[in-house]
Amino acid sequence: MPQEENKAFIKDKSADMSTTDRTLQLSATLAKAPNVNRNISRIERVIEGTPGWNIFYWSGSN
């Protein structure tokens, strides 16, 4: 099965989170399943619309 890039979205817990709290939330999410077992390629901050993080990861195998 060829590898393909997938995406998961992590919504901010609240709209007025500080940078520290946002980073803590991201760290905690990356440390637990399903993200902890993923081959993550990149992480993007989403500002427009619903704020949060896009986590891109590779699924499948070469």
Partner: protein, 504 residues
Amino acid sequence: MDNENFDRMRTELLRVISLMTLAAIMVLLTGGCTAALRNSELEKVAKDWSLVIRASQVIPVYPLTEDLQPGDVLLVSSPIEEQAALYKKRGFLPLDQHLVRLYSRDFKKFYNSRFGTKDNAIPPAQWQTPDDKGELNWKAAPHAGFPTYQFSVTTGSGLNLAFPVEGVPVALGLMHAGSASGTVTIADTYTYGLDIFHVEKMVRSWGIRNRKLLRSYAPRDDKNHFLRVVNRVYLTGRVNVTINNDETTGGEARGGADRPIDLIMAKESAVTQNYSSVISAINRIASDQIPGGKVKFAIASSRSVSFSETFERPLVIGYVGFDMPILTGGRLGAPISTLAQLDGAITLEPYQGTADESYRLSALTFMYEDLRSRKESDSQQALAGLDNLARLLPPTYPFSAYEFSDPGTVRKDLDFVKGAEVKQKTQRFRGVLDYLGYAETTVETLRSYLPTAPRETEAQKAATAELGDELKAAEESLRDMSRQLYQDRAVLDAIDGVFLDAGE
């Protein structure tokens, strides 16, 4: 002696012997009854005394003691409901098991250097130390005031044992009174303490260092042990007492002027001189009866006696404190007012959780990785204990896992599907963490998604309802697994091993 006189004497003698025998039998028969009555009188006096302290929002100490101070921590083993019932019945509480005395050096800061607070002097040390004139410095301590206490008493009830003021039985004796009523003014009253913020921090820090001890008192059968922490005490140095002879106010009272106390040395004239002599004489007698000469009579007549009793050093009559429940693993819960608990007042339950669930899970993940990297036998043992917890995993998944792929769009996991065989069983504790991670992610995703999920068509309504069921199943699984996990000895040992032992 003629026969008539002899018979009369013999009859009189027999009558006395008969009366004595009868009296002896009566004493034997009523002995238990008198003891019971005395106990009940003692309890009543103790309760009356305690009620006046309680009325001032202070928890009474009985008997009075000098040896209680802010930072004292008591271990309360009986359930709070029983404590409240006992408090209501007796009016006071025994001082339970004195677990530890914690000394704070924050008094000077708390009082902003006032009231004679000094660096490195922990109250009441600076007030207990005599000055150059040999006098105590208690007058420098923060003052307090208590309301006047009214009471009624009878002799023969073992009063001197129960009542904390020794002069009362002497006064009753002076008036030849069997029953009396009066007032007690708690004078020379002092208080000192610390704010809950500082004391709680001190207790919590001690609790972390002594987790192993506290763990033995973790909740069982939904009942908690408590740490009762004293953060303020109230002391008295003197009590003023006025006692009125109830018998002189009854039908047998003589009319006219009040009679002075009958003493042999009182002369027929010179009223003022007589009175002064009588008072002086009473004070001399009192100083013999109550060593230390601490009881001073001011007024003494057959109708009323007034005296003041000074304690050698101020004694604690009550305290203010807070309770901290001992939680699972020996952690300490949030402080709750002791008085509110004992009075059964409705209080807002404090939030006992200490961390967001998701942060707790990530901490467990790092803890597990840390243990895996250690080679010591203790760590290997803790690791084996954790890995053994894979037994808690169910044979099949009770819910399907979901997460957001985009804002407003949920995606079902391909492997973590309801009814499928649990794969994580083979991954030991890592598998347990993964199971919890999927459950948390699903709960967070569906809780956020469902309130705005589309419900326009029948298919959408059915899909949303199905997701609702999945959310319930995920919540239940998360709750059950967390409860089992965080109460398990293996997890608590691992937490202590990684996070607590590192600081020792």
